[in-house]
């Protein structure tokens, strides 16, 4: 029985990957192309991104749902950006607003941003966060990834993930404050 279950699981993963490939390869190419500006590099990025997707197939439940699309965007964008950085040998930089360091949360103000409009305002601010902040925040709160999973996905340490979440939150608080 266990043997059959293993076969079924892997069969699902295999067909899932082929659906993802058919569904997203052109979309992924356009994203990579927009970042890299070179068709061959963009193809390499898409190929590299699919290799990363294989490693994360267990995290994808429905290949065609928006959550999957967003996850794929994160993977292909980060792959393309990493490739671009490797070419220019430019290290990744995360803007840190030192003034936001050490700001403590005040539990008395949690009742704001409850209406649909208020949620939209926060969503817009989240979408406009710097790339790394936004990706980490959405992996955490949209994809329900653990800090360890985010660290693995983003190539960061767990401590760095936690720090990034803290900084992203402070940045949002400052912008919406």
């Amino acid at each position: 029985m266990l043997f059959l279950m293993m076969l079924i699981d892997s069969e699902e993963d295999r067909s899932k990957f082929e659906i993802l490939y058919e569904q997203y390869r052109r979309y992924m190419f356009r994203i990579a192309m927009q970042i890299l500006g070179n068709a061959q590099d963009a193809e390499d990025a898409v190929h590299e991104a699919f290799i990363k997707i294989i490693k994360n197939l267990d995290k994808i439940s429905d290949p065609k749902c928006p959550q999957t699309k967003h996850f794929i965007v994160i993977i292909v964008r980060r792959t393309a950006i990493d490739m671009m950085r490797q070419k220019s040998r430019e290290p990744e930089t995360v803007t840190i607003d030192d003034e936001t360091e050490g700001v403590l949360m005040d539990g008395n103000e949690t009742d704001v941003y409850r209406t649909a409009d208020e949620r939209l305002v926060l969503a817009e601010a989240m979408a406009k966060l710097p790339d790394t902040y936004r990706d980490v925040i959405l992996l955490k709160y949209y994809h329900d990834f653990s800090d360890e999973m985010i660290a693995d996905q983003m190539g960061m340490s767990v401590a760095n993930v936690q720090k990034t979440i803290q900084r992203a939150r402070k940045k949002l608080e400052l912008e919406l404050g």
Partner: protein, 234 residues
């Protein structure tokens, strides 16, 4: 004002949707693209590997191990075994071809003085990015190194020292495969391609070389060209 986990979770789906809309706008001007044959080939390979069950990957690994054992065994005994009747014609033809070539390449016992070499001092001058050694077996007269990367691409290098005490015979599955002749650093070589699996067979003096794997042909040739065997007379 404080932003809580709950608020972030409440707005996350909407934020992702806004972000995806923004991405759509950013890529709106990127023209359509016809993927290159290279990309399609690499992706087909990826899909094929992905289609295999984990059990099949274990089986293929075991088969590769068995193939190495078989090659060593044949080297020691100086015999060729045909296991499948259907392969017989092509197999024998290929063996004859190899034998003919090995005569030309001075494989045959007693044909030429054999150069002494220590395969432990061999140099693998090029390994494609992302590949690392998964297993190896290296001695004075035999070298086997198996490389693989995270995407299930793999290749193995076998160097077999041939002298008057041993024949150099390697069997290769040639059923429905494509074969072509080429040169590796001026040594004649045979490239056998079956689907995405390739074997490149050549010799460096009296050292037989077999490079096998599922990597690109160009990469395979580049790896082969960068393999150096140090002989005593050099």
């Amino acid at each position: 004002m404080v932003i809580t986990d709950e608020m972030l979770r409440d707005s996350a789906e909407m934020a992702a949707a806004i972000y995806l809309e923004d991405i759509e706008k950013q890529i709106a001007d990127v023209p359509g693209h016809k993927f290159s044959a290279r990309f399609e080939r690499r992706m087909r390979r990826l899909i094929r590997v992905q289609r295999r069950t984990p059990r099949m990957n274990v089986f293929i690994g075991a088969m590769q191990k068995a193939a190495v054992f078989f090659a060593v065994l044949m080297l020691g005994l100086g015999i060729v075994t045909v296991s499948v009747e259907a392969y017989r014609d092509q197999f024998i033809k290929f063996v004859k071809k190899v034998t003919r070539r090995s005569t030309t390449y001075e494989y045959r016992i007693g044909n030429v003085p054999y150069l002494k070499a220590d395969l432990r001092k061999s140099v693998i001058g090029y390994v494609p990015k992302g590949f690392s050694i998964f297993k190896s077996d290296i001695s004075e007269r035999y070298l086997y190194i198996y490389y693989r990367d995270d995407a299930n691409y793999n290749f193995s290098i076998q160097l077999i020292y041939v002298d008057s005490n041993s024949n150099g015979v390697i069997s290769i599955d040639t059923e429905n495969s494509e074969m072509k002749d080429l040169l590796i650093n001026s040594y004649e070589a045979v490239l056998n391609t079956k689907e995405d699996e390739r074997q490149l067979l050549w010799s460096i003096n009296n050292v037989m070389c077999l490079l096998a794997g599922n990597i690109d042909e160009a990469e395979m040739i580049h790896i082969a060209e960068k393999i150096e065997v140090l002989f005593d007379s050099e």
